[in-house]
Subunit: 393 residues, 4 copies
């Protein structure tokens, strides 16, 4: 036991969000590991600003940030030109997105639409048998008003939209769908669902098992239920590229790019991808880190469905559907100093801005799809990484 | 066209990695958007250090970093106690992993094993018909030595291990598997495969279509082929928890936790998750940002297979298999100042360390699985987020 | 063209469902191939009975039929003992199901519940962009009453329950869910949906693309949308087996069988099965052929989710959830002479019987899961096939 | 217990494959259920012919059989015209395939290629930890010769091709791949693998768990591992249709059919199908029943990947890849009287014919894809079912 005490990370029980507490931790590991954490200890803000964002605050990871743009967006919430902050350590990423944005802008911009918006928590209830579970499901349908009341009492912004039900074995999985304003809403959805479940458990006999989550909201993971029913925002970005634009900017034709897309679709069908496009996770990760999103949600936000057409006039219609894009402009990491600045750069900080951010994210993703898709066809891909990246060994 | 020029992001063609160039970009967007980017402009290193990691370098995203540990690892490459740097903006994340590490340590530590190691690039070749594609496949098998020679000529560290083949329609998808030393190896694999393909195209007649990638390496996305055949490292972390330890640390019993796992397994089967565990993406994202990994790879690295047993003595065996964990201790973002410090903190900077890092990552993931899995069962989950997170609205 | 005429299969334009027409076809192929089709030409009914079931009627395939049972079912529609007709050519199949039925009967029978019931047709509508597609979706929601009216006007039994919507790219996929009485209902659902779509196309401007089906009803194939939202009947069968019963009947214990189930669950997660159970397709295929179901639907009906528990008293709870079991007791092949007799044997011929048949099917499937699951563990599996099957070469 | 005896299905312990035994069973259920089973009792062959194919032989299901064709096949094993026996109760099925065959014939026939051929059994071995499981895997690789020897000693025809390995948790899943001559080979693969496993268990210490199958061969179910690595035959069928042929035979153009295919591809990606084509299970089920294949294998044989191109000259290239088509021309039900006749009709009975049958199956499937794909676009689909099917209620 003594061993455990001596090796425990130092913690100031009065106030752990101080420069002294952070320095004590850096000193603690410096002694044990030799790592000096000098850069980690260099941050431009005061530790209390991270309260609610981290425990054992010890410093920061500084992630290089570049700008891509202007990105011309034709959205319902985002209209006009944007300069997109991308935080990444992967050479060529910013250059590639920038290239796609230039092309898309000349093509008239990216049209983006948010199709749907929902955040979930999905409790499971167990019963003696499937039959009791089915009866429970009926009761839930009949008591939606009460459930909504108890769920919404825990939140000023969240609204319970509907409850999907999935029956299997002696269980009933309920998938609560909330709208959550400008927050990503996982915690809000969790708290509201817990309140509704407390009420259920008080009023319904025969529940033999309960757990607030059982892999039907699928936070921090890709799932087919999210692909079908949206988690966060469901966003479609679209563009149509004239053949001469494709040639001028991406050094290949719309025909070859389209044919390569078909071969990639077949490949993805067989390999079982959660995304038949090119690399949407790159934009999403870089934008998430820059703007204070929950990076664990890159898991589900990286799912996508690409769809392309080669039109009779030789132009290339390309769209990307992102079914589970989880973004926020309020709460979580959005208020951290650098992250807030990046949101301000996009005009997306604070309330009423989340769909605007979702549209910008969708448009950014699409531009990278154009760029990488063409680079593979034009056989410039490896060269670009050689030139711009750390393609050393 | 003029419009495009005036709105283009400033770039110094002589040397774009200077404080002046970064400031010019900040000024440029400040004028256009009002965003001041003061914190973004605060970094503790010189811009040239980011060459090869970013274009249009403008500053940094400062991501709060906390320490969790000590994490007791029983690996083949990592042995002993580690303090794990986690960069995140999600409150409770560090606390939750820390809690799991405490439990795992008292249980004797986490046993971790790297089962496999491979990085891919997967070109597609098209032919007149499936029959020609099949013949091509035979030819590839017969010329593996030449292909290896040409592929490996482009790299000092990469080794071509084998080439999987997948036939469909008139195409042959070749999946080149490389070992890549301590780098993540995507670029190396790409360059080596391109060289092999150049040789193929010179020596084989009848190729009607070629693209260097067609959704069979599935970089930056989850796929079933990666789950089956590994991308990056295939890591298994295991622990066995005595019932009294579970009760003391996580306020619930091994029986309830085990039963909840079964219900989550069923839920995940139906919902179609790429990960039947709890939230491995959280640890992976936080560790990736802290240590300079490619955050776009959170997409595939977040796939996992949880497997648990309730042993006759009441103890709980839990394992997590991560089939496509992409990590590096060399190249990419690993040399950036804060990221390098974090790798040094783990004793993982530089050559010969990548499996050690993979083991630490696997052990970290497992500890978070224990903690969240139990929190759901003990119904402490929502409370923890209320107490530690920004569960505001 | 002449060549085509002379090799065309003979057809009697006045009445093609006659013994003479069938004989003419047999003679035609006999001349060309030497195959005599004597047994094929032996059928106990008159050709007109197959009108609406086949074209170019030429004879029959005689599939051996065995009985398994008694199967003790505790359903809401099926109660008591049943003798289940299974048409198959696979040795050991009937014996294995029979063995499971014996065990299940001693255990008190199989509890079966039909959780849901729906048949689909899923048209796709295309628009200029995703935004127009989204607007269309709202309009559909607002006009559900009219759609129901036009859909139901085409059928005396079908009822339009609801329309799910899935948006992607510039398309809107509508999934019409019908209840279809005792028919399987694919044709009914198709006709009713076509009528609704005709009305839509008359009343909605801006539709740029229409197709009555686009892989969202997924007839004749497994899909995740069917697993989540049911196609045909969603059936759960459950049983609890005392340890001594398992030992007496299946020569192994509940513990080993349970542990093997866990390993199979993990295997199935990794291999990407559409069914983590053992072999439900065997029962379903044999019962479908015996009772005149559409054998093409074995594709989706063979999907299943197994879930087991080892209870504190050592008993084994096993359940199987079949999310897309497509059965009928009316229409299709159910009225064919041998098939009708088999339905009568189960008390399932005609109207008002389809859920009874679904329950019997679910119970039958479960018994085979018990039997094969235990045979693998008891290492009797290969022996059984050696003894009973045609394990020749 | 007495109850069980009296309700047990009668069985003649001396010889159960007699007309008397079958009649006794029919009489037994007639008394209990009133079902007369007259047609079921009408079969043209003697009961002993079903030995090894069924237990409790009671009669037959007579499934209507129609002929489609001529089907023009350009295979390596099947060349020329074939009349394809299809046993089904679904009206329009034969007509639809016949229509597609007519078109394909005028287009020069269907090119079919068998890409691969393997049958599996996949045992799981458990160890104390993942590390021991990995060591075991190495040992297996080193002892492939001995394993082959012991496996092949059980069979005159089967050959052990290779063993795939999949590691997860403390388990090692081995997937034994056999070539199995003209049999489907499941039983042969099972017996040979069991022999190899017996040898392993004698010679390797530390095995804590063993089961001969754990969802990695995935018999009777669809799986991604089968899609990737073939189960049975991997078959590609291809055709190129001139636009005027499409118009003349299918009343629509190649452009609309191609565009509809794209929308179906997108739909299938989202809905999570195991087959993005139209309805291959229909042909496969009808051909399987006619020719004595194992109808439970319709589950995996119905998986498919469609891929189409609209060529610059307006012609339509269509291909279907069937990754896990399980067929036999020897053993199982292939020797049953009507089934054997159907195989003879195709020139496929007996040894050395299995790839020929696989090619015919692939070509048949393709013709139905053409026909239904076009019927949806030409909006003739519902009408065809109204005219030819039992679209009654």
């Amino acid at each position: 036991m003594t061993t455990i005490q001596t090796s425990a990370i130092p913690r100031d029980r009065d106030d752990d969000y101080t420069r002294a507490a952070a320095e004590a931790r850096r000193e603690f590991v410096r002694e044990r590991t030799g790592a000096r954490l000098e850069h980690v200890g260099s941050h431009s803000f005061d530790p209390p600003e991270t309260r609610g964002n981290i425990e054992h605050f010890t410093g920061v990871a500084q992630v290089p940030l570049g700008l891509a743009g202007p990105l011309l967006v034709n959205g319902e919430h985002a209209g006009g030109e944007f300069y997109v902050p991308l935080a990444t350590s992967e050479g060529t990423l910013v250059a590639s997105y920038n290239r796609g944005m230039k092309l898309a802008r000349e093509a008239g911009g990216v049209t983006v639409t948010v199709l749907d918006d929902a955040m979930q928590r999905a409790p499971a209830f167990g019963f003696d048998s499937a039959r009791e579970a089915r009866e429970f499901g009926r009761w839930i349908d009949e008591h939606l008003d009460e459930l909504r009341e108890h769920a919404e009492a825990t939140t000023s912004l969240g609204r319970l939209r509907n409850i999907e039900q999935y029956g299997a074995s002696r269980f009933r999985y309920l998938r609560f769908n909330f709208t959550t304003g400008d927050g990503a809403g996982q915690n809000m959805a969790g708290k509201a669902t817990a309140a509704a479940c407390a009420w259920i458990r008080e009023h319904y006999d025969g529940i033999r098992h309960f757990q607030l989550e059982a892999n039907f909201a699928t936070d921090k993971k890709h799932s087919h239920v999210n692909t079908l029913h949206t988690r966060g925002k469901r966003v479609v970005a679209e563009v149509t590229i004239a053949p001469e634009l494709m040639e001028r900017h991406l050094n290949t034709g719309t025909g070859p790019v389209y044919r390569a897309r078909q071969v990639s679709n077949l490949g993805g069908l067989l390999s079982g991808v959660n995304n038949n496009g090119s690399h949407s996770a790159n934009a999403i990760a870089a934008l998430f880190i820059a703007t204070g999103q929950d990076a664990g949600n890159i898991a589900e936000s990286s799912s996508a469905a690409a769809y392309a057409e080669l039109r009779p006039d030789g132009s290339y219609y390309y769209s990307i559907t992102i079914p589970s894009l989880i973004v926020a402009t309020y709460g979580g990491g959005t208020g951290l100093p650098t992250q807030r600045e990046c949101l301000e750069l996009l005009g997306c900080y604070g309330e009423g801005k989340v769909r605007k951010l979702a549209e910008i994210a969708g448009a950014t993703v699409l531009c990278g799809e154009l760029s990488l898709g063409a680079a593979v066809v034009a056989e410039e891909w490896v060269d670009a990484h050689d030139r711009l990246g750390r393609n050393r060994p």
